[in-house]
Every structure is written in structure tokens, then in C-alpha cells.
Amino acid sequence: MIIKCPHCGPRDLAEFSYHGDATLTRPDPASTDRDAWNAYVYDRTNPAGDHREYWQHSGGCRRHVVVSRNTLTHAITDVRFAGERK
């Protein structure tokens, strides 16, 4: 697999590390809504098809990216920086 890092360009999979589902929203840090936290930590849609996921270009620029990838074909349609850092 080749992931096109928005900074470094296309790079081999081996340079990246996976960080899982990027569609989850972390509850407000102060929230004590246990269900929301449980859902965030444990529950996954795990789709067969389009998936948005975090990867870190750990063997390159070290930035995290959000990759849109099809889990049936592994075809990648979009890669962008995660978050918008200041």
C-alpha cells in the first residue's frame, strides 16, 4: 500500500503506523457520560467499504493524517492532515 502523505508525498506503508477509526468524536474531557466514553473507547462501526482512519507518518514527517480507504479493496481516495494545528 502506498499512502500519499500531504507533506512527504507517496510513501510506502512501512513508514506509517495505524491509529484506527477517525470518525469517533472524543467526548468533552470533563464529561462524565460513561456511555459516551465507552462508545468512544470500545465501539466501532468497522465498515466493509469506506473507512476513515488515522495513520501517523511515523517513519517520515511524523504527522498524523486521516486516510479515506476502502477496506474491501484497500484503495485510498483521500489523505489529509489530521486536525488543524496552530
Binding site: 500500500m1 510506502d12 506503508l13 512501512a14 495505524y18 484506527g20 477509526d21 460513561r34 456511555d35 465507552n38 462508545a39 473507547v41 470500545y42 465501539d43 466501532r44 462501526t45 468497522n46 465498515p47 466493509a48 473507512h51 482512519e53 495513520w55 480507504r69 477496506t71 474491501l72 479493496t73 484497500h74
Partner: protein, 419 residues
């Protein structure tokens, strides 16, 4: 149908092998069953078999979307062991081991369970202690285990690099002598034939495409071969679990699907008489009766439903193999393939009633469910028949995640790709 035996083989051999019948029937689906099991893998088949044998429930159908055994049962590295660390796991896997030990007789099918032992290698003093801890844990639960010195290893595993200059020097290992390998396909076929003989309908090319509901209750399945009603519906679809449960309206589960690759080398004369696992990375290797070295490593590490893997893992596994067995550099890789793992959030399976009324769920086997096949079927059949968990699988609940009773052998937390 005739029992399989040496005599039958001889007799049929002389008569051109024309006397053999279908190993299992190819029935048309009935409209109604007591239990419909979705998934004709090892667990689904074993569940059907034990429903019939232990609970007398024989009006059962198994819906398999492809050919029987096309899932992970047909593509795993065949290691059977019960060398677990944590309390929640060991008794379950040990029960499985005991069932394995008599399985060929039980099924009247040679599943070729070969108790050639499994050895976990240790490469650092800390690993020796960790491994001893595991061995002790096993012993205290009545499972066989023993630490090995490098000298023991030299005798048991010729070709293993035990020199001080080895890429990963070996300080010792843990052996579970009763562990071993079995012929994966035979397990599927053996359970299928045995279940079929007890009246279970095995419906191949019968993909479940939806659930029939009556309010909150699940009452049947829609399949590519028509609708089938059932009082109870058991889901055993391994890597397809999330997808299947979505059809039932359950959008999220503590499961991710990941691809695991496996490899086989060209056939060789006996090279390795036991199963060896590497402690410095992730590798397990054994030799099939046909002669191929069968090996695997880590999952590729990202959600996948594609049954093919990536190149870095191939390289990783091969480099670990030649690090342990430097002579194997000249051995050649024959074939590689992949299977879809149902990785749970703590690396431990789920066997449970629900999550909907009339439904039963068996999943989360990660890369270790082959060895669990008999016990999984045993306990799941119990759960289905009695509507309550079997004591051996009582810890494998679905709510353990939320409640904080995770069983995390690897200590990795909620990152399925690291288990």
C-alpha cells in the same frame, strides 16, 4: 453411511473407490428450523454438532455463503494450544484441548491432530520470567507446561540458531507438549460430516442477507436461497461479524476486522518436528504433513475485509524465520494468503446471548480461534440451548468492555490491531 476405517479404505480401494458417498448432503433449505447458524466455519459447524450431540437439537441449519470452510477455518496456521496466561482464558482453551485429543474418534474423521508440542522462545531474561509466569499459570490450572533450556532446544529443534551471535540469541523457551497442529480443512469437513449425519442441514452457497424480525425479536434470516425461519439464530461469521450485525441493526461492536497473512514454503522432508514461536517479534512456524513450512506473524494492522495482505509483513515474517533458522534462507516461499480476523478490543472472544432477542453471538476470535473450535462449539451450543452462558465461557461477555472486565493477554488496551 459406512464408518470411515482402514477396512473401508482397503475395500473401496479394491473396487475403484466407487463406494464412497458424499461427505455431507447438499439439501434444499427447509422453511423452518429450531436453530439457524450463520457461518459454515469451524465454530458454526462445531456448534451444530454439539447442539445435536449434547443437547439433542437436530433441527438445525447452517447457512454458509460460499463453499464450506472458505473462511478462516480453511486458511489458518493450524496451531492448537492452551498456553494462556489469564484466568478467564485458560480453562476454556484447556477444555478445547481435551476435546481435540479425542476429536478424530468422536467425529470418525481423521483431523490429524498431531501433539508435537509448541515452544515459545525467550530472548531476554525478562522474557524468560514472563514466560515462566505463563507456564506456571498453566500448571496451576492443570495444563502441561515446562521451561526448556537452550540445551533442550538444541535437541528438539535442530536448525534453530542457538549461537551467541544469533540475530536474536535464544535463552530458553516454554513448551506445552500436548499442543500441536491439526489439519484445518479436515476439522471443517469432519464436523460437517458428523453434524450432517445427525440431521443438520448444511446449506452452502446460502448467504444471509438480512434478518427477519418480529418487533425486537429475530425470527429468521433472508438468504440468497430464500427466507428461513428459526426460533434461534446463532451468528458465527468471524471476520464478517460487524457486517452481519449491521444487517440486524446493530451499528457498532467492540470488534474490528483485520487481515492476517499466512505462508507456506515448498514441501520439504521433515525439517521441524514441533511448533516454534518467536519471542522477539511475532512469528510462529511449523511443518505440515505434506512438508511445507507453515508460518505466520502479525496481522497487517489496519481494518480490512480484503483477503490479501501487504508486502512489509511478508518481509517481516521471512526475516524472522531466517533469523531463527538461518538454513531456511534457501527454502522458498510457495504461497501466501490472508484471512479476515475479528479482532476484539481486548484480544479475547465473545460468546453471548443477544444482543437481540432470539439471537446469539460468537465472535472476536482474533487469530486464535482455530484451537478454540471444539470448545467454542461446545459452549456456544450450551448458550443457545440453555439461554445462559456456559461456565467456561462466562467471562467472554459483550458487556465486559464497558464494565471494565477486559481480558487482555497482551496488555495493549483498546487497540485491536495491536493484539
Amino acid at each position: 453411511m459406512a464408518e470411515y476405517s482402514a477396512f473401508q479404505v482397503f475395500k473401496n480401494g479394491l473396487t475403484g473407490n466407487t463406494g464412497w458417498k458424499q461427505a455431507w448432503r447438499k439439501p434444499e433449505p427447509k422453511q423452518q428450523y429450531d436453530v439457524v447458524i450463520i457461518g459454515g466455519g469451524g465454530h458454526g459447524l462445531a456448534t451444530a454438532y454439539y447442539l445435536a450431540v449434547n443437547h439433542g437439537i437436530t433441527n438445525v441449519a447452517i447457512c454458509e455463503k460460499g463453499w464450506l470452510g472458505s473462511g478462516n477455518i480453511g486458511r489458518n496456521t493450524t496451531i492448537v494450544r492452551s498456553n494462556y496466561l489469564l484466568n478467564g482464558n485458560t480453562p476454556f482453551y484447556e477444555h478445547s484441548m481435551k476435546l481435540w485429543e479425542n476429536l478424530s474418534h468422536e467425529l470418525n474423521y481423521n483431523v490429524m491432530f498431531s501433539q508435537r508440542g509448541i515452544i515459545n522462545l525467550c530472548h531476554t531474561p525478562a522474557q524468560l520470567d514472563d514466560t515462566a509466569r505463563r507456564g506456571n499459570s498453566m500448571r496451576l490450572m492443570g495444563v502441561d507446561a515446562r521451561m526448556l533450556t537452550p540445551r533442550d532446544l538444541a535437541r528438539r529443534v535442530p536448525g534453530l540458531d542457538l549461537s551467541a551471535s544469533a540475530r536474536f540469541p535464544v535463552l530458553g523457551g516454554l513448551v506445552q507438549p500436548r499442543a500441536g497442529t491439526a489439519r484445518h480443512d479436515a476439522v471443517a469437513w469432519g464436523y460437517a460430516r458428523a453434524a450432517d449425519r445427525r440431521g443438520v442441514d448444511i446449506l452452502e452457497n446460502c448467504e444471509v442477507t438480512g434478518f427477519l424480525r418480529d418487533g425486537d425479536k429475530v425470527t429468521g434470516v433472508a438468504t440468497s436461497r430464500g427466507e428461513i425461519r428459526a426460533r434461534k439464530i446463532a451468528v458465527c461469521v468471524a471476520g464478517s461479524t460487524s457486517h452481519m450485525m449491521k444487517l440486524a441493526g446493530i451499528e457498532k461492536l467492540p470488534i474490528e476486522s483485520h487481515v492476517l497473512q499466512a505462508f507456506v514454503s515448498e514441501a520439504l522432508k521433515p525439517f521441524l518436528d514441533t511448533v516454534v514461536t518467536f519471542g522477539g517479534g511475532h512469528l510462529y512456524i511449523s511443518q505440515s504433513d505434506k512438508g511445507g513450512l507453515v508460518f505466520g506473524g502479525d496481522i497487517d494492522g489496519y481494518n480490512s475485509y480484503a483477503q490479501h495482505g501487504n508486502l512489509p509483513v511478508v518481509e517481516e515474517v521471512m526475516s524472522e524465520t531466517v533469523a531463527l533458522f538461518p538454513a531456511a534462507a534457501k527454502v522458498r516461499l510457495l504461497r501466501s494468503w490472508g484471512g479476515i480476523m475479528d479482532m476484539s478490543m481486548d484480544g479475547t472472544p465473545i460468546i453471548t446471548t443477544g444482543p437481540l432477542t432470539g439471537m446469539y453471538l460468537n465472535c472476536g476470535w482474533c487469530y486464535g480461534g482455530f484451537k478454540a473450535t471444539p470448545a467454542s462449539g461446545w459452549c456456544f451450543a450450551h448458550t443457545i440451548a440453555r439461554d445462559e452462558p456456559h461456565e467456561l465461557s462466562a467471562a467472554f461477555t459483550l458487556d465486559r468492555f464497558h464494565r471494565g472486565y477486559v481480558i487482555d493477554e497482551k496488555g495493549q488496551g483498546a487497540t485491536p490491531w495491536k493484539h
